[in-house]
């Protein structure tokens, strides 16, 4: 169905505002081409009165970082009774915090690089030199340092020598009060987009094998929610340096992407399976993007997950959608109907 009134929430006051505005604008254009009446709104003091007055059919959260991903905006929409596309608020809170997501997934048997999360106060109270030495002794080198919340590669850095760790920590602390330090795993860097769809109905004679024909795709059906989750073709990321940072992400021509990833079939399948399982384990809904590394031995390591994946011209979810032969507006139109139907 088309002609829905959809509000795309974009902007916000996070460090990723610029990216969010671009995601929202691109998504709105795609949806308008599919006949929807789309309004782009920032999330500020005017949003609640606006929602009450206009009661859109559905909301899509194209906010990155902060309230857009930590469950706050989702909670507002739940209170306002507006159907929205994406993960419910309580699960956002788990996925948004990188350490919490890693903890939950490791307990469930996932591979994820060893890590430690530390606040500035910990370094201050226990003494930074001793803490730096302890972190390096505990995790080894090289290390990845990043803010424990937020995305777009902001504040992230690779540390190859212990002497570089304080500088990397200072950079990460500029974006938040807690940092996540984890072992830096080299290998094939992947962005794995996961989608939900209504589960095939056996009465209609349809099976997964009939319908999910994408090589390397793993699906997971859930009887309780009557949904199937499946991964789109993996996007392999080859940034120009160690880190897929802001410049590498948003300067077209800087990073090379391979979709599907140049992996053996078994590793591609394992990566897709891991992403779908992570999506399900964390209770994510409709759409997510899992970032992962396949190491030299073929082990797939979970790094982090995004409940509001980027939708810009250089973002990986739209690349995966295109590589799967679909158009972003068409796909999101279907997800909008799903969101409305469950309200």
């Amino acid at each position: 169905m088309t002609d829905r009134h959809v509000v795309v929430l974009a902007g916000g006051l996070t460090h990723e505002r610029e990216v969010s505005l671009r995601s929202g604008s691109r998504l709105a254009d795609s949806l308008r081409r599919h006949g929807h009446d789309v309004t782009i709104r920032d999330v500020d003091a005017t949003i609640l009165p606006w929602l009450a007055e206009h009661t859109p059919d559905a909301a899509i959260i194209a906010l990155h970082g902060g309230r857009g991903e930590n469950g706050a905006v989702q909670e507002v929409l739940e209170m306002a009774g507006i159907p929205y596309l994406g993960t419910p608020s309580h699960n956002c809170r788990l996925a948004w915090d990188k350490a919490t997501a890693k903890t939950l997934l490791r307990r469930a048997g996932f591979h994820t690089p060893d890590w430690i999360t530390l606040s500035h106060q910990t370094f201050r109270d226990l003494g930074a030199p001793a803490m730096v030495e302890a972190v390096v002794r505990h995790l080894g080198l090289p290390l990845m340092v990043k803010p424990h919340q937020g995305g777009s590669g902001l504040g992230a850095g690779v540390v190859r020598g212990a002497e570089d760790l304080p500088g990397a920590l200072i950079d990460a602390f500029a974006y938040g009060t807690v940092v996540l330090v984890e072992q830096f795993v080299t290998g094939t860097e992947l962005a794995l987009s996961v989608l939900d769809a209504p589960a095939p109905d056996p009465d209609e004679g349809s099976t997964h094998e009939d319908t999910l024909r994408l090589p390397g795709v793993t699906d997971y059906s859930d009887a309780a929610t009557r949904t199937t989750s499946f991964a789109l073709p993996a996007v392999e990321i080859v940034p120009p340096g160690d880190v897929f940072d802001y410049e590498a992400r948003y300067t077209a021509g800087t990073t090379t992407y391979h979709t599907p990833a140049r992996l053996p079939a078994d590793q591609a399948a394992a990566a897709g399976a891991m992403a779908v399982a992570a999506h399900r384990t964390l209770g994510l809904r409709d759409v997510s993007r899992v970032d992962a590394i396949v190491d030299k031995t073929g082990v797939v390591h979970f790094l982090e997950v995004n409940v509001s994946p980027g939708l810009t011209e250089t973002s990986m979810l739209p690349m995966a959608v295109a590589a799967a032969g679909r158009e972003l507006g068409e796909l999101y139109s279907e997800l909008i109907e799903t969101a409305i139907s469950r309200s």
């Binding site: 902007g11 006051l13 996070t14 024909r213 590589a323």
Partner: protein, 443 residues
């Protein structure tokens, strides 16, 4: 859902995609045109929740908008077929005469034939660079210098060499030393780019005593002066400084603008140049834009003719002086020990130097979280310096918002100092490519 219907999904080979198939065809001068996390943060700075001490937007609220609306309607009604038509590449004659009257306030005696109207003075800067600079030529510029000029110089692949300033502006001895050093390195100096009045970003003004000396040094060295003077009429002490061009018509190219004295949205500026240079500028202007917008030129011309434009400038001066005072007072009260700043007598900006070890670019995300914004100092250097400095603008926020902004900024600096203390003092600076080029409040 598509999955159930089958057939919609297929795998397409999109390997080796850089997302830019023009990649191998770009000119070398685009190599610095990349996404920047710091630049992206300014998207947040524009939100009303943030006190932006970053932008240099004039405060236009005192403009007589109703009268201007009537004037615009009258322009269309009475002169629409001219206002909406192509025009001269040099600009409208009557406006050029009026521009000469404006420049006369700064002691410049000029003929309208030597004036070229441009799309803001930024275009004048671009055209001047275009006609003088080959890749690798050296442009001398103050340390720090206007970020928009550095961007233009970079796009023409000039090498910028910074020259020290102090509280009295560009230091003549430093200029001489820079000329000698560049020449010793075998490079060719074409231009000195200078903002003599209420400098952007430094806030200082070149002293009257130094102006003829600077002109003399450049004349003897065969270096053309680009005198950029957008703020000259915005002094807070009823004083108008005599332009360098007023005493050197042959070796100075003067850039002027109505953006700060009237309205930046109209994008009307100008360049005054010696006859031979002016000929080339007209041709370059035609090449770039065919002609500056006629409607906008006529609006400016009518504004100068029909409105009390000098009274409006006095209103601007009063507004900005109050805001300057609010900012200086707040800095005095709230900044931590070891912080220094300049004391502007006009214009829009204060240049602040933070205690050793702080990095204003690295600190900006923390500031944005605290909902205050500034421009990091390294944006105003071509050689990587300026990491301890920041530019604060007092032109747009109200005095109350300025005080609130400085209050937030002081808290951010305290947090950053605490982080540095935790990790054992300053971290090494990044890519510094030039020689040490002190800024005005630390020279």
């Amino acid at each position: 859902m598509a999955v159930r219907q089958g057939g919609k999904w297929k795998v397409m080979d999109m390997t080796g995609n850089s997302l830019d198939h023009h990649l191998q065809r770009y000119a070398q001068r685009t190599s610095g045109m990349r996404a920047s996390a710091i630049r992206a943060l300014f998207s947040v700075a524009n939100r009303p929740e943030v006190v932006s001490l970053a932008g240099g937007m004039p405060f236009l609220n005192s403009l007589p908008l109703e009268s201007l609306a009537a004037e615009a309607a009258s322009l269309i009604n009475e002169d629409g077929l001219v206002a909406l038509q192509y025009g001269s590449g040099q600009g409208i004659g009557e406006l050029r005469e009026q521009i000469c009257q404006v420049m006369a306030l700064e002691g410049i005696q000029a003929h309208p034939d030597d004036v070229v109207v441009t799309v803001g003075s930024q275009m004048a800067l671009d055209l001047s660079t275009r006609i003088f600079i080959d890749p690798g030529d050296v442009i001398l510029a103050e340390a720090p210098s206007y970020v928009g000029a550095l961007s233009t110089f970079s796009s023409y692949q000039a090498d910028v060499v910074h020259v020290s300033m102090d509280d009295a502006g560009l230091v003549p001895e430093a200029l001489e030393a820079a000329i000698e050093a560049v020449r010793a390195s075998g490079r060719r100096i074409k231009l000195l780019y200078t903002i003599p009045n209420y400098h952007n970003p430094a806030g200082v003004t070149l002293s009257a005593e130094r102006r003829p000396r600077i002109a003399e040094i450049c004349r003897e060295a065969g270096i053309t002066i680009l005198e950029d003077n957008p703020y000259g009429l915005l002094g807070f002490d009823n004083k108008i400084h005599r332009a360098i061009r007023a005493d050197d018509a042959d070796n100075v190219i003067y850039l002027g603008s109505f953006s700060k004295t009237f309205a930046p949205g109209l994008r009307v500026g100008w360049v005054l140049a010696p006859h031979a240079v002016r000929e080339k500028l007209v041709l370059a202007n035609e090449s770039a834009t065919l002609n500056p917008p006629v409607f906008n030129q006529l609006m400016v011309s009518r504004y100068l003719h029909n409105f009390d434009w000098q009274g409006q400038i006095k209103a601007y001066q009063q507004t900005y002086a109050e805001r300057r005072d609010a900012m200086l007072q707040a800095l005095q009260t709230l900044m931590p020990p070891g912080t220094t700043w300049t004391t502007p007598t006009g214009g829009f900006y204060v240049w602040v130097t933070l205690p050793e070890g702080l990095d204003t670019a690295a600190m900006l995300p923390r500031a944005v979280t605290a909902r205050v914004a500034y421009v990091p100092g390294n944006a105003f250097y071509a050689d990587g310096f300026g990491s301890r400095q920041m530019r604060l603008s007092f032109c747009y926020p109200t005095p109350e918002r300025i005080v609130e902004g400085v209050h937030r900024l002081a808290a951010v600096i305290d947090s950053e100092l605490e982080i540095l203390q935790t990790f054992g003092g300053p971290r090494p600076h990044g890519a510094i490519t030039g020689e040490r080029s002190p800024s005005p409040d630390t020279a």
